[in-house]
Amino acid sequence: MNKEALIVSLKEIVKPYVRNDEGFANLTEETDFLNDLKINSANLVDVILDIETAYDIIIDNESMEKMLTVKAAMDIITSKLSEK
């Protein structure tokens, strides 16, 4: 999956949990899930579970630890998909 397609699909996943529409409209790789999108930290678990289901991957605790930005999520998804 290319970068653009990955961002588009990731945007769909995070959408239900976003509380800052402005941050969502301006979403880039640098976007921070908590600070920019105001996703609450309990919902970050939902984002991670939704990513696991959407891409059929398992995000281990070590990867989850870094899962704070769009870029980190993209890197983790790409890396887990390449391991398949």
Partner: protein
């Protein structure tokens, strides 16, 4: 170092389905999950342990810097209904949790004496828009700090550092005092250290 975390119970019920497959496993250690299963009110236990973890995480990141999302690395032990102990990478925090009908509020501190002397303020927001809530809590903090210290509110501002950690800044004295802020749903809380 202190940290706080408030959970609006009704809003948490709407926002999160803690019974969702994999949810508890991602957040809680095996020991904590047993605690949840055996609790009379499992939902209340989920949010009690969550607020303990979050409050200790805030105290930890304030002390050591950095950010991470590793709820399983934050180990909670409940010592009574309201007292607990939380360990993050061998650093221990004492926690006190207040459970009411509407919210669960935890305060973590690495010093027992500090926690007994902390004055925390919990309140109900008028509005549920986070931007308006932020302005409201900042104003409450400034007013409270001015009332305690006798400083004029016009010299005070709440500022955040690069990691998003807030402080009260006094422009006339160029001093900063750490403040812990938490809001969720309709409830807000702060501690001025």
């Amino acid at each position: 170092m202190t940290g706080n975390d408030i959970v609006d119970i009704k809003v948490a019920g709407k926002e999160s389905n803690w019974k969702r497959k994999g949810f508890l496993e991602k957040i809680f250690t095996q020991k904590e999950r047993i605690c949840i299963t055996e609790a009379i009110d499992s939902k209340q236990m989920v949010w009690t342990l969550w607020s303990m973890k979050e409050s200790a995480y805030k105290a930890y990141t304030r002390q050591f810097g950095g950010r991470f999302f590793a709820p399983q690395k934050i180990n909670c032990t409940l010592l009574s209904n309201c007292k607990g102990s939380v360990t993050i990478s061998e650093v221990s925090y004492e926690t006190t949790t207040l459970i009411t009908e509407n919210y669960i509020y935890s305060v973590a501190s690495n010093s027992k004496t500090i926690i007994e002397h902390l004055v925390s303020h919990c309140f109900l927001y008028k509005n549920d828009d986070y931007k308006i809530q932020q302005l409201e809590i900042y104003q409450k903090i400034i007013n409270r700090y001015a009332a305690v210290t006798g400083k004029q509110t016009k010299y005070l501002a709440v500022v955040k550092n690069v990691n998003g950690i807030p402080s009260v800044h006094c422009k006339s004295e160029k001093s900063t005092i750490p403040v812990s802020i938490s809001h969720h749903g309709h409830y807000g809380a702060f501690i001025i250290n």
